[in-house]
Structures are given as C-alpha cells and as structure tokens.
C-alpha cells in the first residue's frame, strides 16, 4: 500500500494548482455573480490538455488514469465549484461513455473533439418526473427507417446550452423496463427539434449552466445510437461509477478551498488580544475540517485506484461520493462560521463553497440514494 502519489501525478497536480490559483481563483466570484459560463477558461484548459485526462491518446486524450483525473478535478473544485462541475460532467458523463461504448467511427467523430476540448459535452438522464428513479423515464426514441425520432424533456442537464454533443437516454422498447433504454448522441447545433427551454437560476454553481432541454420530433441518423439498443441502463450504471469518483474529488476540492480560507483567516484575525485560532473552539473547527477532508480524500483516491485496477467500484465510489459531499458541505458551513460576519459576506469565499457544496449531496445520486446503493452492497 503506497500512499505517495507518483511523481508524474504530483507534477500534474502542482501545475493545475498553479493555473487555478492564478487564472481561475481571481474570477471565481465574478463568474458566479454574473452567472457567466467562462468559455475562455475552458479554452485555456483545452490548451493545457485537461479536457480529456482519462481518455486514450489515440483519440486526443491525455491517456491518464482515473486517479490523475481525480487530482485535476479536486484542484478545480478547490477554486471554483462551477468550473469543476462543468468539467466533471464533460469528462465522466459526456466523454467517457463514448470511449467505453462507441464504435471507432463514433469515437473519431464524437470523442476526439470532446477529449481535445474543442467543445464541451453534456449527458441527459434526469427528467422532470424522473430523478432518483432514473430508469422510469418518458423520453422516447422511435426507429423510423434509418433514423431515430426522439421526443421528451430532460431536466437539470449540465452544459447543455454550451455543448457540442449531448448523450441522451431514451426508451426504445417501452415494455422491456431496464432493458428498454438506449443512449443517443445528439448534436445540439445541427439536429432539428432540439431546444434549451430553461437555464436555471440556482443556489450556487451559477457559472455552470443547468438546463431543461426539449426534444420535439428530433430526427437523428441511426449511427448515433451508442452501443446496442437496450444497453442504455447498464451503460448508465458504469458511467455513474466513474462519475461518483469525480463528484467525490470535486467535493474534496470544495472542502479544501473552504478549509484553507478558514485556516488562514483564523491565524490572522485577532479577538481578545490573540489570533482566534488560539481559542479551542475555533481551533477544533479547523482540526475537524482537516480530519474530514483527509478521510474523504483517502476514500476518493482508493476508489480511483480500484477503478484503475479494473475492480468493481460500485461500493467504494458510493462511499467516497457520499462521504466527500457531506464533508464539503460541513466544512464549508464551519468555514463561514470561522469567518464570522465576514464569512456571511460575498467578499469572502466560504459562502460560495457552502452553496456549491450542497449540490454535491444531490447530483449524480442523492445521499439517500448513495446509502441505498451502499446498503445493497452490504446485502441489507
């Protein structure tokens, strides 16, 4: 058991951290306040080869592993939840499935531009009346000649308004339950019958677009089917295994960002003639942050390492995601407390981490659903 990161991973983490500190952190609050998707940041991430970290080099990716991807995602979360979320959804949900399940021709056409960062991707599973019970969807895809016709609405789709491709889950065989779901690649620019209905105003993460999208008689050629008909649900389960690791890593980053803000404030702010960190109550809050973050990070790295070893990560990724998302929210809340009144102002970062962290307990499977998954793994 080796807890030391390989040198290559360390160098990548340090470089990404430097980039994040200098190029993202200074605008992190502005883009949140302006509700602005920072396209220029993603162009820069593409230039640094960050948009396809765990994708093979053959298709323009970096050829890194899940651990490397988790490290990069954590660093983004440490400065900006919005950028981290759009990044994680792009990589784990929109890009990886094409590599895992696509044909060579699909990879050439659809994977490469995602992996090189030419544009972002989105992944559409959730619907207005189907969230946690995700397989109970209403969106239909009917085969007509050599086309599929998609009809339905998808809810809360990250990046949909800025994406170059969207992976859409739809029912192809209504009687077949889990086995009746398939995945399609939709081109939001070119395909007719696609519409972004709403971009939601949210409690946080407002620089990451979250969209309601609608398909009305949206006709796509049959070669947009990803994998085989009826494989959509098993693909979803595999996709979410990797996705949970990325949300865990993002959460660790949010916690780390809030922790650093609290720690430095606590050593500088003086009350009753000494730094507030010298009061046990404040010190203990900061110590608890350290404990929780380290625990969550270890779970995340363990799950990423298992993923890289080809092991099943259903259990470990659910543990990591559940634990890290809770850590992020708790640490961010305490960070607001450590900063007192200043923590409640938008001049300081903890409130932003607090608002961003809350989503981590909801997206890609709520904490309740993670407990359900873990319970099942325990045979309960």
């Amino acid at each position: 058991m080796d807890f030391e990161l390989p040198s290559e991973h360390r160098m990548i983490r340090d470089t990404v951290r430097e980039f994040c500190d200098e190029e993202i952190e200074p605008i992190a609050w502005d883009i949140e306040e302006e509700h602005r998707f920072p396209e220029e940041v993603f162009d820069a991430l593409a230039d640094l080869d960050m948009m396809g970290v765990p994708v093979s080099e053959e298709y323009g990716g970096l050829g890194g592993d899940q651990l490397m991807y988790a490290l990069v995602t954590e660093e983004l979360g440490r400065v900006s939840g919005s950028i981290g979320l759009s990044y994680a959804a792009h990589t784990s949900l929109a890009t990886k499935p094409i590599e895992m399940f696509g044909t060579d021709a699909q990879k050439e056409r659809w994977l490469e531009p995602l992996a090189t960062g030419e544009y972002l991707g989105a992944w559409a599973l959730t619907e207005p009346s189907s969230g946690s019970d995700a397989s109970d969807m209403d969106t239909m895809a009917e085969k007509e000649g050599d086309e599929y016709v998609i009809d339905g609405t998808k809810q809360f789709i990250t990046n949909a308004s800025v994406a170059g491709s969207i992976l859409v889950k739809a029912v192809t065989d209504p009687g077949a339950g889990y086995d009746g779901i398939s995945t399609f690649i939709v081109d939001p620019e070119e395909d007719d019958g696609f519409e972004v209905v709403t971009e939601w105003e949210k409690m946080g993460l407002n620089a990451s677009p979250t969209c309601e999208i609608k398909f009305t008689d949206c006709r796509i050629p049959e070669d947009r089917l990803l994998g085989e008909e009826g494989e959509g649900w098993t693909q979803t389960m595999k996709t979410l295994n990797g996705g949970r690791i990325s949300i865990a890593a993002l959460s660790v980053g949010l916690g780390q960002g809030a922790f650093e803000a609290a720690k430095s404030y606590a050593t500088e702010r003086e009350q009753f003639g000494k730094p507030i960190s010298k009061f046990d109550a404040v010190r203990d809050m900061v110590v608890e942050m350290d404990r929780k973050i380290e625990r969550s990070r270890l779970l995340t790295h363990k799950s990423a390492t298992q993923y890289d070893d080809g092991e099943d990560v259903t259990h470990s990724s659910a543990l990591a995601k559940y634990d890290a998302s809770e850590t992020a929210r708790e640490v961010a809340e305490d960070a607001v407390q450590v900063l007192g009144g200043y923590g409640y102002t938008t001049d300081f970062a903890p409130q932003r981490f607090y608002r961003d962290a809350k989503l981590m307990e909801i997206g890609e499977g709520t904490s309740e659903i993670q407990r359900l998954v873990i319970g099942r793994q325990l045979g309960l």
Binding site: S7, E8, R10, M11, I12, T15, V16, E18, F19, D47, L48, D49, M50, V53, L62, G63, G64, V72
Partner: protein, 264 residues
Amino acid sequence: MKILVTVKEVAEAEDDFEIDGLDIDERYLEYDLNEWDDYAVEEAVTIAEDGDDVEVVSVTIGPERAEETVRMALAKGVDRAIRVWDDDLESADMLDVGTKADILAAVVEEEDPDLVFSGVQANDDGFGATGVALAEVVDMEWGAVVNDLDLDAEGGVAHVHRELEGGVEELTDIELPAVLTIQTGINEPRYASLRGIRQAQRKPLDVQGLGDLGLDASVLESAVSRTAMFEPESESDVTVFEGGAEEEAGQLADLLRDKGVVEG
C-alpha cells in the same frame, strides 16, 4: 544551435518559520523552480520553437529531490537535462558561486553550447553571480540582467537590453558564444501542458558526478562559509492619512518635509 539553461531548485520558506542551526528548519521549506530560471527556460524554448534545429539542454546541480523541478523544464519543452550530484556534493556544507561556476563550466565544456542562459539570481541564496562567474571561467562573452533579447543566430550576435539601476537600460550586441543572465519579465513563462508533463517523464535526464565531469572534491573547497543564520530585526511604521485628496496630499507633504525627504 544549442542552448544550455542552468536551473536551480530553490527553497521557499513559509511566512512563519523557525531556524535550525545554520538553516531554516526543513519543516518550513518548500521547493520549487527558481523564478528567474523559469523565464530563462521560456526564452530558450521560444527560440527553439521559432528556429530550426535548436537543441535546449538544461543543467542543474542538486539532489534527487530536484528531479521534479528539472522535469518541469522538460515538460515546458527542454529536450534533455543533466543533473550533477554525488556523495561529495551531498556532504558539502555549502556550494559557493566559484564552485558552481567550476562545475557548470565542466558541463559547458562537455556540451559546447552557443548560448548559456541562467537566471539573474536565485530566490533563496541570492548571490546573483553564478552566470557571470561561469562566463569568466569558460571565457565567453556575457550579458547580465537581460530583459529583452533579439537573437541573430546566423550572424552569431545577440542584441540585448540590459536592465541597469534606476530604470536605465543598456542596449548592447553580444557575440556568441555567450552567457546571458535572464531577468524576470523578459517573457511570459508558459504553464507546462499536461501532455508535456507526461512526455517529460520519458525525456533523458542524465545524472553525472564530479568524476564524470573530470572534476574532483577539490572543486568544493571554498573561502566562503556560512557562520550564522538569523532573522533580521525589522521595524515598520504606518501613518494613515485621512480626509479628501487635497488634505491627504497636504499631510503627505508635511510628512515628507518632517522626515527630511524633501526640503523647504
């Protein structure tokens, strides 16, 4: 054409630190590429990208720990690297400018570069002399504190701006081969790309001892030794002016007169 870039891994202390003997306690130190060297690497790599057939080699004197720093230069586009270290260097108390110049001179002799870039100074010990001392030993032309470089590779001339004191610049032509010490601000150093970092793991990084360079432990003998390490007492005094711009200007004028900065 070949460019040799000397790089150094420097220690940076945290804001609050403790001194342990003749050095800052290891617990408070972090290591990174010397800031000036980052600009030197960028300058060399840009020349290589813009020209044909330019090889960039970087050299450092440092322990194994420094490899990550050297690999960062490789990640930014340096072709290969040399790290000089052995047991004798490990046991030396301190490497003074003369020692470093002699060691680097042996590398220059081996590599025979057309240009050597070093940083103006190192962030930690700040002697600011290694580059020029090296030029002296290898008998090359040199230019110190270069903040603008226009290289005429064919003509064998470097047109440089040198930063002098008081905001004055000197424009000079320096004949190659030459050593230039590079000032911050000469360019904008790039971030290493992630692919660059991955490729850097496979680029050659050659470790050489003093013996490999035709030197021996006598090169470490030095007239300079570190005798003490302490934090200087510092005093600061703050005056906050308040009022409108005119009032504040008046208060500042009074203060400057008081302190004798201006007369009258």
